[in-house]
Structure formats: C-alpha cells, structure tokens
Amino acid sequence: MKAVQVPHLDALEAESIHIFREVAAEFERPVMLFSGGKDSIVMLRLAEKAFYPARIPFPVMHVDTGHNFDEVIDYRDRRVAELGVNLVIASVQAAIDSGRVVEETGPRSSRNKLQTVALLDGISDGKYDAAFGGGRRDEEKARAKERIYSFRDEFGQWDPKNQRPELWNLYNGRHKRGEHIRVFPISNWTELDIWQYIEREEIEIPSIYYAHRRPVIKRDGMLLAITPFLTLLPDEVPEEMLVRFRTVGDATCTGAVESPASNPAEVIIEVAAARITERGATRADDRISEAGMEDRKREGYF
C-alpha cells in the first residue's frame, strides 16, 4: 500500500476534531469561548464538524468587553442561531456596574485586564470544567509554551514552570472540583493555516477582516478605529484609510493594518509576505511589557 501523505490542513483538522470529541466525552460541563474573531470562527466550524450530524453539545461563551465592532456582534448572533447553540455572555460591563471591578480611565485605558475577571466569573458561574480557547502557539512566545490541555487551579492560574507532561494524543484532563482545564484545539495552526482553511472551506467571517475605508488614528505605531469607546488625545486627527483587521478584540486596543486585500486569497498573499507578527502589528494590549502575555495568562487570561 502506498503511504499517501495527508495534506497539512487535513492533518490539523483531524487533530482538532479529536480534541473536541475527547473533551466532550470526558468533561461534564465544557464551554467554548467565542469572540466572533477568525480563530474562534474556525474553531466553531471544527466543533460543528466534530459532532456532525448532531448539534455542538456545549454552549459558547462570549467575554464581552462592551467595546465591540457591530459587524462582529451581528455575525456572532447570526452564527449562534444557525447552529442552535446556547450563547452565554460574560460581561465586563456587568462586572463594572456591580462594582466588582473598577475601570481604568483616560485615552489609553483598556478593559483588557478586566476581561480576565469576567472570564473567570463566567467559568465559575457556569460551573464549567473545561473551556475551549482559540489560542495558537504561533501567536506569541508565552503561548508557544502552552499545552493543548492547560491546567488551571482554583484561581484560574496557569503555572508555566509546572505543566503536566503531554504525550502523543493522550490528554490528561483530570482535575479537582473548582479547578478547570483550558483546551486549545487549534494550538498547532498558524495564521496562514487559518486563512487557507477559511478559503478552502469558504467560511464567512465578519467584513472588517477585509479591506474597507474607515476613519482611524495613528497611535503608538498602530491604526486605531474611531469608535464611541475611543478617547482621542489632543493632537490626534482622524484620517480615512483603506484598512482591514488582522485580529479582532476589544475595539480600543485592536489595531487595523493598511491593506487592499478584499478576499481570503488576497489576505493569504499578504499574510505570507508579512514581516510583522499579527499581534505585534495590531495589539496594544501585548505591548505592555516583554512578559505581558505570560503575566496575564498566569492570572487566568485566555
């Protein structure tokens, strides 16, 4: 028999589907984090495939900072309705309103840190014992170190110096009450893989991922969209540019890139030639310090 090579997207897909099914079989209350961003959209498609023709057997949770792009929220609601899955919202605004957390103020304020509180509250309120996240190891150097099953203690903390060995495709999801496992089914996908998959599978994604004209300002080398949530600095003047988003997160700290790419094929060409990482180009939240991501992850961030 000829040893036919499996195309790499098929190998990645098969691995991700295996992970979804493993979690659904071994955990009592899994939940999937869904932001409406491209990674979580691909993750949702993989979950759909894993359980076909049955429905996805767990709810999805959106950690909502309140600073959203309308296109993304529309997409989220439409997709969730199509699939017939439950949507749980872990709201940062609600945490602020209840006085559980205090919001930063000023033009450079961000709700990024507060997301962790809303996320951990959401997980404990729902008594979830596993939470799927769309993190990829190619995104960032601390993520590059994370297991597919990432153990979290009762405070949601990650201990990068003491991770469980993870061999072959034998995942150890055992935990005590109050602890949980973060599961990253697309750990081994790169930004390029995601786009090639979106193209191959003809997956619809929110329009802001493709070129469009919008008013932006340049701040710290990034293009930030003008939204009601953004406070301008005195000398900042909005300018209309042809842009698209490489990542989609909180609207106040997700930057756009100048781009004429208007479909997956054009984005693929652009991504393949990119000289700056996806997060480096577009995420103000990652610029905090050299170990910004690691520190946030230790505290329970995605």
């Binding site: 079989a25 495939k49 359980f51 150097k141 110096k161 061999l167 495709n169 480096g280």
Partner: protein
Amino acid sequence: MEMLRFATAGSVDDGKSTLIGRLLLDSKQIFEDQLEAVEKTSREKGFDYTNLALLTDGLRSEREQGITIDVAYRYFATPKRKFIIADTPGHVQYTRNMVTGASTADLALVLIDARKGILEQSRRHAVIASLLRVSHLVLCVNKMDLVDWEEDVFNSICEEFSEFAAKLDIPDLTFIPISALNGDNVTTHSDHMPWYGGPTLLYHLEHLYIASDRNLIDPRFPVQYVIRPMSNEHHDYRGYAGQVSGGTFRPGDEVMVLPSGMTTTIAGIDSFDGPVSEAVPPMSVTIRLTDNLDVSRGDMICRPRNASVATQDVDAMICWFTERPLSERTTYGIKHTTNNARCQVRHLAYRLDINTLSRDESATELNMNEIGRVQLRVTAPLFVDEYRRNRMTGSFILIDEGTNETVGAGMIIGTDA
C-alpha cells in the same frame, strides 16, 4: 504540502534554542518585531551578540536563568515543506518536557557541544528518542567555532555516538558539524569546514524521505464518542466517532468490535463534508455499523482476522517523570487510546542504565527521569498492540490518582505477562 515534525534534544547549553533561532532567522521566518525585541533584550543584558535562544525561550524564568524549561513550539515553512518544531529543554530536571516534545516528532535533532563531547544527557535523550521510535535522528555537533573547526573532533564524536547508537533502534542517523551561533552549515555551507561534504541542516530537513509512523496495515478504530443527534431529522442515527489509529476502513468492510467480539459490517463512514469512501490514519471520522451492537467509548473497532489484543496484562517500557518513585504494587490511573482504567505495577523487571544500556534487574524502584521495564495488571481489558507496530494503540500514560499529575509514559512491548 508535506509536514515534518521535529524536536531538539541534547544536554543543557549545547545550543538547541540558539540553533532553532538561527534556523528561523536564516530562513527568513522571524518577524521584524520579534527580532527587535530579542536584540533589545540582548543589549539590555549586556551580551556581545544577539542571543537567538531568546526567540524560543519565551518564559520569564527562562530568560532570567538562560535555560529552556518547557517545550516551545515553532512553525515554519519553506517552499519544500512545512515544519513544526518542538524546542525542548536539556536540563535533566525537565526531561519530562523533552519527552512531551519528542513524543509527536518524526525527527530528533540531538545537539552535542563539540568541546564537551557526548554527555549522559545526550545519551538519555538518544535513548528516549529511540524508545519513542522517532524514526530519524540527526546528530548536530555544535560550537565547531570553539574547536577551531577541527575535522578530528567531529569524527571522533561521530564514531563514539555510532558505537552507542548501534545498541539502539535508530533507523536513520545523520551527522552534521555546525555552529548554531554563526550559522555554519545551518542553512548555508560553511567556509570554515571545507572538509565536510554533506548537506546543510536545512537542506537535509527539506529533502529527507519521511518514514511515516502511521500504520496503514492493521485496521484500528478506538471509539471516542457516540453521536446520537436526538433530532427529528436524524432520529435513529447512531455513529461512532473517533480517529483512525491504523489501517484502512471502507463501507462494507467486515469488522469486529472489542471487547464484545461481535462482528458486523460498516454501513457508512460519515463526515461533515459528506460520505467517506476510505478512512486512514489520522482522519477523524464517524463510523456507522449495520447491526445495532452495544458499542461505547473505549471500545475498539478492528477486523475479525486482524484485531488488537484484549488484555489486562501489559508489559511495557516506562519513562518516569515525578519525584515519588514508581514502585511495585502501587496503583495508578492509566489512559490508553480512549480508555481510562486503573492499574497496579506487578513487577519491575529492570531499570535501564542510560550510559551502558545494561539492565539492572536488582532495581526495586524507578526514580524521576529513569527508564525501566514493568509488568502492569489493569482493572479492565485494554485493546493493545506493540508500540513498535502502532504508536497510537501501543502507548499509554500513567496518572497519579492523588495529585492527578501525569507521572509516566508507557510503550507496550508485549501483551502477555
């Protein structure tokens, strides 16, 4: 595109992370912001040169201590191939993380510091790679710049390693003299070592014929999850979801289900993208059976004349990961394919001496980072194959039932105690 997964190995400070950094940099896979960050840190720390190891040593403690603690996964592609790299730690304390990275690799890059020669940790990693049946091993003799690019140094290390490797099971062994720091023989040929006529490391990685670890002969399908839609449209649907772990499955095939031993045929193989005419490893699919048998997670679908062995007695090599030693009569949790059970260590046959490869039969325990052969008695039958025949149905992990930690990795040798 073809994908090659490889892991680094070798003793602490032999230059593994530097090599990966160099490989990524010289094949233009490092983004500007990543390189800038590493250059900045190197300057701040007062290094004479940019420390490329910082490209993979991403944790705060790793940067503080200048060592790798846990595996870093990196991805890169050339026009020839797509690569998944696991850069693993050399420090003996973190051997479990090296095993983690190597368990899914097709190829191991074992680094040796040319000044130090072959160390105990180099041997341990070579033994682990061979036990895990990583089919290709490349021995990179690194830091050639520090031994005046001497051919003799390279040759004598190769000779010593060949002698040692002869006692191991390593189907494909290659030697390359390099300087990770300067990039000699990494992506371009070195002017300093005209005596070396072989390929550069990158050329070798791009061109070697990848011996597949997939078993395409013995049909094995561990049932992972039963799909019952409970919807009007698919009222009576019952599908067995899982990942093909060996051989080929086609609609109409006669199959046997373990543990019941009942036989039936495959009514259809389903996927979101439509019916599947042929399922091979590593595809994740859903199998429907013609007869309504009692099948659940942990069962194994195979063929009547080609089946896994159903057994409660397992004979295996174990790598031990934790401070509390493995000892006879202790009970652990065991995960094998999609089965969870408990097992007791009935007998420790021997502990392997990493340096001499001799067997210490007087050993009564396995300490952290040691390797040995054990007989286990499992609370329920597992459906197993020898690891050398099938990585997926021949491997298992041991779990401490008190702490829930993964404490050992097992590779099945035989199925009768």
